[in-house]
């Protein structure tokens, strides 16, 4: 005890407790939870087998074809009629189902991971900002950023119609102008609206010179709308409202239907499927993040951070973000299960992976016709793979929820 406190020693009997971090704590809680451990083991088996297969077990889907051994029931021993072992049997093209299930895992997990990353990243950022600016007002820099974003984003529509990317940039510029309005327009909202509407129309109608009068008309009208929107003064509350209403619109579509629509728009393929599933999942994270931010902002440590003079960015990313991570992590784990399921659904409908590529949903879609002729193995094993992977992630997610719940902690 070299550093004895000058005032009082009455606190020394507080034994200095073991140094534990938040995450270490959560990990211990997770290990103690048996169902979560089952989930973790299942997930680990899937991850290891598919990653291992992808890198160390060569498989060329294009060349895998053997009509001689099609629709064989599981064979566990080499014999006259089947010179190879097929522990899960073979499908209609004589492909080994075990091999395809293991390789399909790589695709399914990849879809899940990428899709969840898209929704997680975009959704949490949107929710974080929406929740924070619900009560804090935008400063000038943030306002400029927002207006430029709106200009660029919405301007993409006429730019896409007229095939002139420069239009989008011009609308972005208009956004900058709207933040730094010249003083004579400051108190005249009508004049301001008129000026911005006309400017927007002009930028939109620019297409006419290059493309044609009809395009110019359409883009002019859209431009007018964007101009009027940019003329509106925004504050944090308006921004938050816009973001959350857009999220409501996305949520109002049945999720599979929306995913199918997006894939139909983008064209089939595993990557397009990832994007579709990712976009559909955005609102969940946005809502979750926003609600968590709203409750964390009320905490006194945020006020305390303000009272020592910290700015918006620092408070948002250093104080609020780490405190809303745990519900988002839980949701992401559960979301992985969901994304795998969605990917399988898309694959089943022929909208996910392109045929010879192995993917669980597509394998089901390929083989369900042969169920009536007794080939149960062709659908059972991919189906079980989907089921167990989803179950594994769900169990793990449940365990994480308990482990990361601050109320469970002493």
């Amino acid at each position: 005890m070299t550093e004895k406190s000058p005032v009082m020693d009455d606190l020394t009997d507080f034994a200095v407790r073991e140094h534990r971090s938040l995450w270490l704590d959560a990990w211990r809680c997770l290990i103690a939870n048996r169902t979560a451990m089952v989930g973790l083991v299942v997930v680990a088996i899937f991850v290891l087998s598919s990653v291992g297969a992808h890198f160390f077990w060569n498989y060329d889907a294009e060349m895998d074809l053997d009509y001689g051994s099609k629709l064989l029931a599981p064979v566990l021993r080499v014999s006259e009629e089947s010179p190879e072992i097929h522990i899960f049997g073979t499908d209609k093209l004589g492909r080994d189902i075990f091999r395809r299930v293991v390789h399909g895992g790589w695709n399914s997990l990849r879809v899940g991971l990428v899709a969840v990353s898209i929704s997680l990243f975009v959704g949490s950022i949107l929710g974080l900002f929406a929740g924070f600016f619900e009560s804090a007002d935008l400063n000038r820099f943030e306002k400029t950023l927002l207006m430029v974003g709106i200009g660029l984003g919405l301007g993409a529509l006429p730019a896409w119609i007229a095939r002139q990317p420069i239009q989008s940039l011009l609308f972005g510029l208009l956004g900058i102008v709207s933040v730094s309005t010249p003083s004579f327009l400051a108190n005249r909202s009508r004049l301001r609206r008129l000026a911005f509407g006309l400017l927007g129309m002009l930028i939109g109608a620019l297409a006419g010179i290059f493309v044609g009068p009809m395009v110019a008309l359409v883009c002019g009208v859209i431009g007018l709308g964007i101009g009027l929107l940019l003329a509106k003064p925004v504050n944090g509350k308006v921004f938050s409202n816009i973001v959350m209403r857009v999220m409501d619109v996305i949520l109002s579509f049945p999720s599979y239907l929306l995913a199918i629509a997006i894939v139909a728009f983008l064209g089939p393929g595993l990557e397009k499927g990832m994007i579709a599933i990712g976009v559909v999942g955005i609102p969940i994270y946005a809502r979750l993040a926003r609600s968590a931010v709203l409750s964390v902002t009320q905490k006194e440590y945020v006020l305390a951070a303000q009272s020592v003079g910290e700015g918006h960015g620092r408070i948002l990313f250093r104080h609020i973000l780490p405190n809303i991570l745990s519900p988002i992590i839980v949701q992401a784990t559960m979301g992985l299960a969901n994304a795998i399921l969605s990917a399988a659904a898309l694959g089943f409908l022929g909208l996910g992976a392109i045929p010879p590529e192995p993917e669980w949903g597509a394998m089901l879609g390929d083989s369900y016709k042969y169920l009536s002729s007794g080939a149960w193995w062709a659908v059972l094993f991919p189906g079980l793979a989907i089921m167990f992977s989803v179950l594994g992630f769900n169990l793990l997610g449940d365990g994480l929820r308990d482990a990361l719940d601050p109320k469970m902690r002493v």
């Binding site: 550093e3 406190s5 507080f14 200095v16 140094h19 007002d137 440590y301 006020l303 003079g309």
Partner: protein, 331 residues
């Protein structure tokens, strides 16, 4: 010597769905260098809001600092840009909050949170900040500060967290420390420790302190002067001795009368001021204390009394009948 802070006609309102809440209604006072000022009043009388208004931490909207001037070291804080104001916060005025359980961020270590302010304001590097933080933790009486540096808030007890908060507030050597009911969430023995700590630090560092509380018993032993607030107004102010021994305002008398005394026989009922404070959305045009006052007369309902100088130097009161009350010699 010029006062450290001079507040003129500070007015803060909140525009809510139920109407405009007049939280602070034009208060004026001065705070000298090295002085401990107590701000007392019951819940909802505008004590905290007025402190947050000084720091400009009132949420806008729904809040609005409608009028007033806050001269701090010669500058009007209400006219500063947000960027300049950020350097005032923490650097020149620091604040300690009511609930030590929630005023530290649970995901960072105590040491990290205190050194963060040092790195931010004092341009220290990590090592210097760590050394200074350990010094500060020692200063506020946290034993084995070096070991405690890497502790998380949940490993601290309530009193220790409040000490850590005070260390954080003092990290940049502010000229004014605003303590917003810092002992309310603590038990009585810890309260006493925190009060002694602040008194000692005030003497060592020579800063000014504003101590906001609803407990007149606490402020009696530590502050130099008192502002008594009611319904967003200062209704009586003066040196501690004058407020306690020559009370002039009926509300202050009520507050003092409602303190439990140690000599009372067991079973004696605690005295309370009858009625409720006025609705801040719809303030009466007369004296805000009219409805609950035992000395009221007709005039009190119609005209609002302004602060006027009382019998002693620096003792002012906003009551029409303070002379009569003084003559009656009630206290």
């Amino acid at each position: 010597m010029k006062p450290l802070m001079e507040i003129n006609n500070l007015t803060t309102r909140f525009h809510t769905q139920d109407g405009t809440v007049n939280a602070v209604n034009g208060i004026s006072y001065t705070l000298n260098h090295g002085e401990i000022l107590g701000v007392v009043g019951e819940s909802g009388c505008g004590k905290s809001v007025h402190a947050l208004s000084i720091m400009r931490l009132v949420q806008i909207p729904p809040g609005e600092i409608a009028a007033g001037e806050v001269f701090f070291d010669g500058r009007d804080l209400l006219k500063l840009s947000e960027k300049d104001m950020r350097t005032v916060r923490g650097h020149e005025i620091a604040m300690v909050f009511q609930d030590p359980m929630s005023s530290l961020n649970p995901v960072y270590t105590i040491g990290f949170q205190i050194s963060e302010a040092l790195i931010l304001h004092k341009n220290m590097n990590k090592r210097q900040a760590k050394e200074r933080t350990i010094e500060l933790l020692n200063l506020v009486g946290i034993p084995e500060a070096r070991k405690r540096f890497d502790n998380f808030p949940h490993q601290f007890s309530g009193g220790m967290r409040q000490r850590a908060m005070i260390a954080m507030a003092l990290s940049c050597e502010p000229k004014l420390l605003i303590a917003d009911e810092p002992t309310t969430a603590l038990d009585v023995t810890i309260q006493a420790q925190i009060i002694n700590l602040v008194i000692r630090l005030q003497q060592e560092l020579g800063m000014s302190v504003m101590w906001i509380t609803h407990d007149l018993g606490i402020v009696a032993e530590m502050v130099h002067r008192i502002n008594v607030m009611y319904a967003g107004l200062i209704i009586e102010r003066g040196l501690v001795d004058d407020i306690y021994n020559h009370t002039l305002h009926p509300y202050t008398m009520g507050l003092l009368g409602s303190l439990p005394s140690i000599d009372e026989a067991p079973g004696t009922k605690l005295i309370s001021i009858p009625g409720l404070p006025p609705d801040l959305v719809d303030l009466p045009s007369g004296c805000p204390f009219f409805a609950r006052c035992t000395y009221r007369e007709e005039r009190c309902a119609k005209e609002r009394p302004q602060l006027e100088n009382g019998p002693e130097e620096g003792h002012s009161v906003a009551c029409w009948r303070w002379r009569e009350i003084q003559k009656m010699g009630i206290s």
